[in-house]
C-alpha cells in the first residue's frame, strides 16, 4: 500500500474517531429501552413497543446498549424500512426507546 492510500485511510479513520469522541461527549441522557414507565397507558405503549422490537428488530440483532435520544427517530425510521413497519409501529417503537 502506498503512502497516499495510507494517508487517505488514516484520514477517514481519524474522522470517524473524532466524530465518535465528539458525539459520545455530547450524549447526555442515554436512551435505552426502559421497563419502568409511569402510568398504565404508558405501560401498554411500552409493551406494544417491546413487542414490535421483539418481533421485528431482535430477529436479526440485539438492542444497542444505549444511544442518544436525538437519533432515536432515525434508528426507528431505519427499522421501518428494514422491517416494513407501519407508522403506528414506528411510533410505538419510538416510545419504547424514549418512554
Amino acid at each position: 500500500m502506498n503512502s497516499k492510500n495510507l494517508r487517505l485511510m488514516a484520514l477517514v479513520v481519524a474522522l470517524v474517531s473524532a466524530l465518535a469522541v465528539s458525539a459520545q461527549q455530547s450524549i447526555a441522557p442515554q436512551a435505552k429501552p426502559s421497563k419502568d414507565p409511569a402510568g398504565k397507558q404508558s405501560t401498554q405503549k411500552q409493551d406494544e413497543g417491546e413487542r414490535v422490537f421483539q418481533q421485528h428488530c431482535s430477529r436479526c440483532h440485539t438492542a444497542p446498549d444505549g444511544f442518544s435520544p436525538r437519533i432515536a427517530g432515525t434508528i426507528v425510521r431505519h427499522m421501518r424500512v428494514r422491517a416494513s413497519l407501519s407508522q403506528h409501529e414506528e411510533e410505538e417503537l419510538l416510545h419504547f426507546f424514549n418512554p
Partner: protein, 362 residues
C-alpha cells in the same frame, strides 16, 4: 456480502487506488449531504453507526490479521425519506512466510451500499441507488460485523446473480399482508449493468417473499433472481428462522441453488437466562454452531462457491460485553476432496452509534 466484497481485494486486477479514492469521495459526499439535512424533529438527527473490529484468521496454517471499520450513515429527510449508506475499510496483514521476515499487506475500501428510501406506507417502500440484494437473508440482514455471529459468512453467501452482493437500480419492498397470526413481506428489485469501479453491478432482477408467524417466532421465505446479461441464469433460495420465545435460542438456515452449484447452511446460537438473565456474566456467553455444505452440479465455477464439494462445521464461542463490545472466536474444520483443513478465528468488535454531529438537546 462481506466475503464477496473481500474477494476482489485479494484479486488485485482492478485499480485499488482509484477505487479507494472513489470510495472516500463517495463517503465524504454522503457525509456532506447529511450536513445539509434539516430535520424537523428533535429525535431525527442523522446518525453514524457501524462497527470497528480487529480480527485474526488462521486458515490451513496461514494467518491473516485485519482491522476493519464498517461505518453506516443514515439521515431522514422529511417524513418519508431516508438516505443511508454503509462502507467498509479493511487492511489485511499476513506474514511473508519462509525465511522472509515481515508482513505482506493489502487493503480494501468500498461502499457496501448507498441508497435512498421513500416510504409511501408499510406496504410500499421504494429504494433507489446501490442496494444490498435481498437474496436469502445473510446478505442484507446478517452481514454487518456487529451482527454476524462468525467473522466470515457462509460459503453460499456469494450465491446470487451479482457476485458483489449489491444491485444498482431500484427496489420495491414492504409488507404485503399483516394479520395477528401471520405476516408476509416481499421485495422486488431490478439492477442495471454497471462497470463503474465503485458502483459495479450486473443486470438482473429478482425478489423475495417471507412469511412470519409471530406466535411461533418462525420465519420462512423464498428468494429468486435471474441474471439478465451474458448467459442468463436463475438462482433460487429458501430460508427458515426459528427463535423460540423467551429461550435465548436461535436457529437460522438457508438453502441456495444456482445453475452450476448449490448449498446450504444451518446456524444455531444460544444465550442462557438461567443465571441472572442475558446481562449476567454467564448470560453474555454465546455458544454458536454452524454446519454447511456445498455441491457442484457441474465443473463450471462462476458462482463463488468452492470448486469441489465441500463440507464445513464451525464451533464458535462469542462473548457479549457491556457497551456494545463483542468477542467472536471460532474453530472450523473444512472437508473437501482437495484437502481438509482447520480454520481458527478470533476477533473483537465494537458497535458505535451516535449523532452525526453535536446538537442542542431539546
Amino acid at each position: 456480502m462481506r466475503s464477496a466484497m473481500f474477494a476482489p481485494m485479494l484479486d488485485l486486477s482492478f485499480n485499488l487506488r482509484s477505487r479507494a479514492a472513489a470510495s472516500i469521495r463517495g463517503f465524504l459526499l454522503v457525509l456532506g449531504a447529511l450536513s445539509t439535512v434539516h430535520s424537523g424533529f428533535a429525535l431525527d438527527a442523522p446518525l453514524i453507526s457501524g462497527g470497528v473490529g480487529f480480527f485474526t484468521q488462521t486458515n490451513a496454517g496461514s494467518t491473516t490479521y485485519y482491522p476493519i471499520i464498517e461505518p453506516l450513515l443514515a439521515a431522514p429527510m422529511g417524513q418519508h425519506i431516508l438516505v443511508e449508506s454503509r462502507a467498509s475499510l479493511v487492511e489485511f496483514f499476513s506474514p511473508n512466510g519462509g525465511n522472509d521476515p515481515g508482513y505482506n499487506h493489502s487493503h480494501f475500501i468500498g461502499l457496501t451500499y448507498l441508497q435512498s428510501d421513500f416510504i409511501a406506507s408499510r406496504h410500499f417502500t421504494l429504494v433507489a441507488g446501490e442496494y444490498l440484494i435481498p437474496f436469502n437473508t445473510y446478505n442484507d440482514r446478517l452481514s454487518p460485523i456487529w451482527i454476524s455471529n462468525f467473522q466470515d459468512g457462509p460459503l453460499i453467501a456469494n450465491l446470487s446473480f451479482s457476485s458483489t452482493g449489491s444491485g444498482l437500480g431500484g427496489m420495491l419492498r414492504g409488507n404485503a399482508i399483516q394479520r395477528n397470526k401471520y405476516s408476509v413481506d416481499y421485495s422486488y428489485y431490478y439492477s442495471a449493468r454497471s462497470v463503474n469501479a465503485q458502483f459495479g453491478a450486473s443486470k438482473g432482477n429478482g425478489g423475495r417473499a417471507s412469511l412470519y408467524l409471530p406466535d411461533q417466532h418462525l420465519e420462512m421465505g423464498l428468494s429468486y433472481n435471474r441474471l439478465l446479461q451474458g448467459t442468463h441464469e436463475n438462482f433460487y433460495g429458501a430460508h427458515a428462522w426459528w427463535e423460540p420465545k423467551d429461550t435465548g435460542f436461535r436457529l437460522r438456515s438457508e438453502f441456495g441453488r444456482a445453475h452450476h452449484a448449490q448449498g446450504y447452511w444451518v446456524e444455531a446460537d444460544y444465550r442462557t437466562k438461567a443465571f441472572g438473565g442475558l446481562d449476567s456474566a454467564i448470560g453474555r456467553i454465546e455458544p454458536v454452531f454452524r454446519i454447511q455444505q456445498t455441491f457442484r452440479r457441474d465443473n463450471v465455477v462462476t458462482d463463488g462457491l468452492p470448486p469441489v464439494n465441500t463440507q464445513r462445521a464451525d464451533f464458535g464461542l462469542d462473548y457479549n460485553f457491556p457497551h456494545n463490545v463483542r468477542i467472536l472466536s471460532s474453530y472450523a474444520r473444512q472437508f473437501s476432496s482437495t484437502g481438509n483443513h482447520n480454520v481458527w478465528e478470533t476477533g473483537i468488535v465494537y458497535r458505535f452509534l451516535f449523532p452525526a454531529w453535536k446538537g442542542k438537546q431539546q
